[in-house]
């Protein structure tokens, strides 16, 4: 019986300890934390609402801009039909707009797809087997050298100000995130673009040597979205 009492005493002591500890823990953890969590939640909610509103505004502005640009072009067309001088200016104006990425364009070209290597030898650094910013740039610059008139990466038109950042397996183009496969599409002479990439010792060979899966394909019609 004495033994029994002793163990009961110990159990009660432990219980008391846990009760107090729990109480303190709850008191400490719950009250300020829930307030903080609440605050975070409100902040997140506000941000989300703001973002949605901003995106909606942008969408309607995009529509409006498209509309205005059509009006501008139809005005220019009318003028070009009236005057020879205007005709020449219009032609070069529209060419520049296409080159500068201000109009949606289409035309023949090629499509290049870059993927990470599937087989990575165990002892090697997997970093050596994923597509990096340099690999993408290698393709893009080779295409420019072969006379590409417009280039997009994963559907995003590239411009003079474009920047590509490599964050692990994610590649950011002008701040927008993309993952493998990376699809480069270019408008230009399909034959010339393709043969300059596939030249022996050229870009495709170089990338394949780095273990990247490259596939190229001629396309009769490629569409590039405008920058804005």
């Amino acid at each position: 019986m004495r033994n029994h009492r002793f163990s009961l005493a110990i159990i009660l002591m432990v219980t008391g300890f846990i009760v107090v500890f729990s109480y303190q823990y709850f008191k400490k953890a719950e009250s300020p934390k829930s307030e903080e969590a609440n605050e975070l939640w409100t902040q997140e909610h506000q941000l989300r609402t703001q973002l949605i509103k901003e995106q909606e505004t942008n969408q309607s502005l995009e529509k409006k801009l498209e509309n205005r640009r059509e009006q501008v072009q139809s005005n220019e067309q009318t003028l070009a039909n009236q005057k020879k001088e205007a005709h020449d200016i219009q032609k070069s104006l529209n060419n520049y707009r296409m080159l500068n990425g201000l109009t949606k364009v289409h035309g023949p070209g090629i499509r290049v797809s870059l993927e990470d290597a599937q087989y990575v030898p165990e002892e090697d650094d997997p970093n050596n087997y994923i597509v990096h910013q340099q690999d993408i740039q290698e393709v893009i610059y080779e295409l420019y050298a072969a006379g590409a008139e417009g280039v997009s990466l994963n559907g995003q038109r590239l411009s003079i100000h474009s920047y590509i950042e490599c964050v692990g397996p994610v590649v950011k183009i002008d701040g927008q995130k993309h993952t493998v496969p990376f699809i480069v599409e270019a408008i230009g002479d399909p034959h010339l673009l393709l043969s300059s990439l596939n030249m022996s010792g050229g870009t495709v060979d170089l990338l394949m040597n780095r273990g990247i899966k490259v596939s190229t394909e001629k396309k009769s019609d490629i569409t590039l979205k405008p920058l804005i």
Partner: protein, 227 residues
């Protein structure tokens, strides 16, 4: 016996509770908020760009509404000049930084053998993230489709070989001192040093960039209409 049963049951309950409390206390996930803030900043930037483009279009429309053909033609010419400027086909001046590429020290890569296309491409990439608006490498003004590549161990920009060291890279930006500070601690600076090269960066109040002589010839692209 009953009291012991009760006490142990209570004990078990408390332990379970304790476990629950402890488990809940994992680090808070604030990633969502950063992500949202990031997206919002991007959307706001786009908003500004859209507004700029809209007011540009409106300005043109106003010009075209005039009854005088001559002033309509003038508006069109101005629009063309603006596009040429955007394409890098006009001489452009403004605030910026003058970057001089040279050997790190005597005896290092003096002939510029460390220079390669990748180094230049990465530098341009980095300059763009730092807010460069226009760039000329040596005398080659960059455009939307400027090739930069190696031909027989020499870097070619716009199909012209780069000159011997030292050569200048002129960069226009509205915030030259920011760009200078950030370029001096950039990854490119380290990459250059690894090749025995360095960049001297100088803020300039007025920097003049040459025009790109490329023609605006377009053979394969056509505008997508009515969509």
């Amino acid at each position: 016996m009953l009291s012991i049963t009760l006490v142990t049951a209570f004990l078990g309950f408390m332990v379970a509770l304790q476990f629950g409390v402890t488990k809940e206390d994992k680090p808070r996930d604030t990633r969502d908020i950063y992500q949202l803030q990031d997206d919002l900043t991007k959307a706001e930037k786009k908003h500004v760009q859209l507004n700029e483009q809209l007011s540009e279009s409106n300005r043109l429309l106003e010009g075209y509404e005039s009854d005088d053909t001559k002033s309509q033609l003038q508006t069109m010419k101005e629009a063309l000049d603006k596009q040429k400027e955007l394409a890098g086909e006009t001489v452009k001046a403004g605030t910026g930084v003058l970057v001089t590429v040279q050997a790190l020290a005597q005896g290092y890569s003096e002939a510029g053998e460390g220079l390669n296309a990748d180094l230049i491409r990465r530098l341009i990439n980095e300059l763009n993230t730092l807010g460069a608006t226009d760039i000329a490498i040596a005398d080659e003004r960059l455009t939307n489709r400027s090739p930069i590549r190696m031909v027989h161990e020499i870097v070619y920009v716009n199909d012209h070989p780069l000159p011997d060291l030292p050569f200048p890279i002129r960069v226009l930006t509205p915030h030259p001192s920011d760009l200078k500070k950030r370029l001096e601690v950039s990854e490119s600076m380290e990459d250059f040093a690894r090749e025995g090269l360095t960049m001297m960066v100088k803020v300039e109040d007025r920097l003049k960039l040459p025009a790109n002589g490329e023609s605006e010839k377009v053979e394969y692209m056509k505008p997508v209409k009515g969509d």
